[in-house]
């Protein structure tokens, strides 16, 4: 009971401190919030959801030859894909004149005219073609986004065409005649490569829309919905903040032992009929509880404010527990090594920042970090926690976060024990 009374008293004191609450909750939310607003709208996976509806009519005049790929139909499929923005409504109209009059009456905002020779020009060796975009001149943002989407579509087709041309020429030089089936295979390979490239460029795990032949679309894995690369980046940034400030809070809460010693309340506690081991255990319990409460509150607020999906509940729970144990143990050990609270201020700031930096907390969303840096991160407890978060955020099941959890548990308990021994000797 005395141990719990000491812990509750410490928790109450911590959450009454403006500075402590600011550093525990305010600072990580503020920093992540600033980044979030810099990418405002993109993070929710509903980019531009506040834009007014844009009605787009496609006039598909494309007439491919028999057994030829119908790129006009592919374009309509592309614009009707479920991953397109909610505000983009695509329909078909029979001819250009009807379309123009509908734009004039502002019944539609934009139109895409696909020419008769669209497919045949793409598939011919030296063919050239283009898509015409008509738009209501009073609209700006919606048609611009439409243009970007169509550029992405045509870039994909052009890339595929180049791939087919290069591959055909290389195969022909080796005496192989390229038939239609081989062309389809080349296009598929190109699509896969383009998907990987897009993933890397956006530092995320979700591929962009990929132009593929219709018969391949059903077998293509569909990325999880509701997130996008920027949202993933935000989740990793918030995880970094969560870890950094959890370790800071662990050390700050542990400082209460030094502050109580300096204020005379610790010696007074020793003069009561309370075992010193009970007093120390109460202080340790307080550190653990404060970091746990901080982590839960931060994750909840971040989910609400930044739409962060923390992954599967069991995986996330294991990572949070590992983080709390490691941060608390690290804080106890760090504070046990400093002389007084004045010295602790500088030491905590320096050590937590440098180990956080080495642990990769500030570069979690940066792709292609050098290999040695990824190895260095494992020399810090923060690096291990970040590993756990990456696994949890990727939606991995609990089984894949258990090894990281066990490592963090070991680190935390070892630090706890070492710090406790040092404190016990100090106050013997």
């Amino acid at each position: 009971m005395k141990m719990i009374a000491i812990a509750l008293k410490d928790i109450k004191q911590s959450f009454r401190s403006f500075f402590a609450v600011g550093m525990m909750l305010g600072a990580p939310l503020l920093i992540t919030g600033l980044i979030y607003f810099a990418f405002s709208g993109l993070t929710s996976g509903k980019a531009g959801s506040d834009l007014p509806t844009l009605k787009v009519a496609v006039v598909n005049l494309d007439r491919p030859a028999a057994n030829q790929q119908n790129f006009g139909a592919l374009l309509i499929t592309f614009l009707n894909d479920k991953r397109m923005p909610d505000w983009l409504h695509t329909s078909e109209l029979p001819d250009e004149s009807t379309t123009r009059s509908e734009i004039d009456r502002q019944e539609i905002g934009a139109a895409v005219i696909v020419p008769v020779d669209f497919s045949s020009s793409i598939l011919s060796a030296n063919g050239s073609t283009g898509i015409t975009i008509l738009q209501d001149p009073t609209l700006t943002i919606g048609p611009s986004v439409l243009k970007d989407l169509l550029t992405q579509f045509t870039d994909g087709i052009n890339g595929g065409k180049i791939a087919v041309t290069v591959a055909s020429s290389q195969l022909a030089s080796n005496g192989v005649k390229v038939n239609s089936a081989m062309q389809q295979g080349i296009i598929q390979n190109y699509s896969n490569w383009y998907s990987d490239l897009s993933t890397d460029i956006h530092h995320g795990q979700e591929p962009e829309l990929v132009v593929q032949p219709p018969h391949l679309q059903s077998s293509t894995p569909v990325a999880s919905s509701g997130t996008n690369p920027v949202a993933n980046m935000m989740a990793q940034i918030m995880a970094g903040m969560l870890i950094f400030f959890a370790f800071f809070t662990g050390a700050y809460a542990a400082q209460s032992i030094l502050r109580e010693d300096e204020n005379g309340t610790l010696p007074r506690l020793f003069s009561t009929p309370t075992q010193r081991s009970t007093i120390l255990a109460g202080k340790l319990l307080a550190v653990f509880s404060i970091v746990l409460v901080q982590s839960i509150v931060l994750m909840t607020l971040a989910s609400i404010a930044f739409h962060i999906n923390w992954g599967q509940p069991l995986s996330t729970t294991l990572v949070v527990l590992g983080q709390v144990v490691a941060a608390s143990g690290f804080g106890i050990l760090l504070i046990s090594l400093v002389k007084n609270s004045r010295q602790a201020g500088a030491v905590v700031g320096g050590v937590i920042s440098s180990t956080g930096l080495l642990g990769g907390l500030f570069s979690a969303s940066v792709p292609n970090m050098p290999g040695f840096f990824n190895n260095i991160t494992h020399f810090t407890p923060q690096g291990w926690v970040m590993d756990g978060w990456k696994a949890a955020l990727a939606g991995n099941p609990a089984g894949q976060t258990i090894p990281t959890f066990l490592v963090l548990l070991f680190i935390g308990i070892f630090f706890f024990a070492a710090g406790s021994v040092i404190f016990s000797r100090r106050f013997a």
């Binding site: 009971m1 005395k2 009374a5 008293k9 109450k12 004191q13 009454r16 401190s17 204020n263 005379g264 309340t265 010696p267 007074r268 506690l269 020793f270 003069s271 009561t272 009929p273 309370t274 075992q275």
Partner: protein, 314 residues
Amino acid sequence: MTTHDAIFVKNLHKNYGKNPAVQGIRFTVHSGEIFSLLGPNGAGKTTTISMLSGLTEPDEGDAFLMGHSIRLESQVARALVGVVPQEIALYMDLSARENLLFWGKMYGLGGAILRQRVDETLEIIGLTGRQKERVATFSGGMKRRVNIGVALLHRPQIVIMDEPTVGIDPQSRRHILDSVKELNRQGMTVLYTTHYMEEAQEISDHIAIMDQGKLIACGTHAELIRLVGEQARLELTLNADPSLVMQHWQMLEGVQQVSRSDGHVTVLAEDSNLILPRLFEAASQIKTRITSVEIQEPNLETVFLQLTGKALRD
């Protein structure tokens, strides 16, 4: 040690590094009395109290609180004592009531008894009306009162107070001294340390005088005064260097001791009326003027001066 002894201190020693803080002190505090440890700063009072309250382990010797050894039964001994430390040891960001509730739990209280004791203690220290305010907003005197209140929560048989009136206003000092006397009337044994002679004189049944880690005298106020032969103490200020005149005064009949401190000369004499004209005459002969004279009847200051050769406040 008898069954009437609340505290029995037996040959306690404590060194900090090579510096001896307490050197083999021995004294007894009877149940139900107020016992003061009087001495200048650095005399070893706080170290003695730290050992009795279980904060510091003695290097040698032992002490018994209500018969329980502080070395062998420290947990039991600590439960019998309420300690009021010299510095205010409270949680400034908690209210007076929250502080008392917390410390009560540390003394093993809980539930309705704890709440009742907290209410009673707030009444005793006169802070019932401000119990929900944070201690940080209190005046120095009010903080001192809460500091004392913490030690009374579990109704200890012995209260140890380490200079509880240092640095506070006269009104709060009065309140604290009255509280000590009231606690004593209720049957508590009080061990009180101070370097204010007047406080020790006012409240104590027995007084022990400490200097440089040693107990140099112990007894009632009257017994201590008798130690120095009930001499008068004269403090004189001169208009010149006192060295020469002190030599002359030392040789005068009826002068027991001459010493110098803080710009004045202190003379201990058997009869101030008889010696004063002689002091003026001797000073006049060497052309030194006495610019002020203060005569004090024998008191603890005189005792300390007689025993140590220096003033208590030095």
